[in-house]
């Protein structure tokens, strides 16, 4: 229990161990602990940010959806309009065509009628001529002639 140089030896040992701890042991541990703290802080922040952006994306997506719906409605409306226009156009066209056809048919018919009428007139005149010749050859009798005349008139 005497005080001797052991005391100085221990003082020296103390200084050396503190120096070793200060230089080699303490800094890496503190650094790693701070790094982990930082990582946790960063992680929490990132999670919060992700949450925020998710919220934003949700809002965005619903807005997009709404917009798309509106566009779709507009497109459908336009398509409907176009369809009805096409139909009405087609109708108009068809009507015009039909009128044209009818007109041309009428024209043809008129021509035919005229032609037939010409032919008929020709026939009638021939008949009249031949009938007249017959009458003139035989003798004109009222009874006989009457019958012929009625026949001729019927032919006309």
């Amino acid at each position: 229990m005497t005080i001797n140089a052991t005391l100085l030896g221990q003082t020296l040992a103390f200084v050396i161990f503190v120096a070793i701890c200060w230089r080699y042991v303490w800094p890496p541990i503190i650094a790693i602990m701070q790094e982990r703290e930082q990582r946790i802080t960063d992680g929490l922040e990132a999670a919060k940010k992700a949450n925020d952006s998710l919220e934003e994306a949700k809002l965005n997506s619903s807005a997009e959806l709404e917009k798309a719906k509106q566009e779709a409605a507009i497109i459908i409306e336009k398509a409907n309009q176009r369809a009805s226009q096409i139909v009405s156009d087609a109708q108009t066209k068809a009507e015009t065509e039909a009128e044209k056809i009818i007109t041309s048919a009428n024209k043809t018919l008129e021509g035919e009628i005229t032609k037939t009428r010409e032919a008929l007139r020709k026939d009638v005149s021939e008949i009249i001529i031949s009938t007249t010749e017959k009458i003139l050859e035989e003798e004109i009798s009222k009874d006989k002639h009457e019958k012929i005349i009625i026949e001729a008139a019927k032919k006309i």
Binding site: M1, T2, I3, N4, A5, T6, L7, L8, G9, Q10, T11, A13, F14, V15, F17, V18, I20, C21, W22, Y24, V25, W26, P28, I29, I30, I32, M33, E35, R36, R39
Partner: protein, 292 residues
């Protein structure tokens, strides 16, 4: 347990346990004979205390270096957890005491003090006869001493006042160093002489403040020494019960040893913690500049 004690009286047994393995220069030259300790004077060393102290310091450094060898900021495990827990605990203590000033050496020093002193204290839980008997038998076998009883080996470094006061001396040097560094030589001297009675009673102030200053390292060292020495002494006395040829006293001794060891765990940790906290507090006081 105590094989050494067939013809050893209780006093001799206790004395044997309280004697360090001391080496120094006696009249005849270098020797490790405790009976020549008076001749050695100041320049002699307690090889056992110093050896265990340095060994345990290396254990501390090794343990904490090993714990940080595969550092990762991912989820830590095992030894790294323990190391980080210690560091965080020390760091919290330092930061709660060192509020204004910052000094990068305080943290590592507090950690060293805590773990190192705790490890040294922990040697107190090794039954008192194990290591001395082992060393004594080994020394006798090798031929360093005649009989195992002639070898002296004191295991717990903190039961040696040289060790505790040695650490306190280092702390004291740091206190003075930082006092002068922070406050300047003038500030340090004025702190020593101008309190508490002003400049007209400088001698009185000086005596009071000097005692105050010197009491710090002495109380720091002697507190640790006293607690551990007393604990060790009780372990020795309990071990002494096993020497008697009585089964009843022997069993009582085993029971008491267990009880005291359990209780002592608390003291060991507490004393290490107190030593650390006081070291931090004293150094924090050295960093304080404001008048009080």
């Amino acid at each position: 347990m105590a094989k050494a004690g067939t013809d050893l009286t209780s006093t001799e047994y206790i004395e044997h346990h309280l004697t360090n393995l001391i080496c120094g220069k006696a009249d005849k030259g270098w020797t490790c004979d405790p009976y020549l300790a008076d001749q050695m004077g100041f320049w002699s060393f307690h090889v056992d205390s110093l050896g265990w102290s340095v060994f345990l310091g290396l254990v501390f450094v090794g343990l904490f270096k090993l714990g940080t060898s595969k550092l990762s900021s991912e989820a830590p495990s095992g030894l790294q957890n323990f190391v980080e827990m210690c560091v965080e605990f020390v760091n919290e203590n330092v930061q709660s005491i060192f509020t204004s000033a910052k000094n990068p050496i305080i943290g590592p020093m507090a950690l060293t003090v805590l773990i190192w002193v705790f490890l040294m204290n922990l040697m107190d839980l090794v039954p008192v006869d194990y290591l001395p008997t082992l060393v004594g038998n080994f020394a006798a076998y090798v031929g360093l001493v005649d009989t195992p009883r002639d070898s002296y080996f004191k295991v717990v470094p903190t039961t040696d006042p040289n060790i505790t006061l040695g650490m306190a001396l280092a702390v004291f040097i740091l206190i003075i160093f930082y006092s002068i560094k922070i406050k300047g030589l003038k500030g340090f001297i004025s702190e020593l002489t101008l309190h508490p009675f002003g400049k007209y009673l400088i001698p009185v102030n000086f005596i009071l403040e000097f005692v105050n200053l010197i009491a710090k390292p002495i109380s720091l060292g002697l507190r640790l020494f006293g607690n551990l020495y007393a604990g060790e002494m009780i372990f020795i006395l309990i071990a002494l019960m096993l020497v008697f040829n009585s089964i009843a006293i022997g069993f009582l001794g085993v029971g008491l040893h267990l009880l005291w060891a359990l209780f002592h765990i608390l003291i060991l940790a507490l004393q290490a913690f107190i030593f650390m906290v006081l070291t931090i507090v004293y150094l924090a006081m050295a960093h304080e500049t404001e008048e009080h």
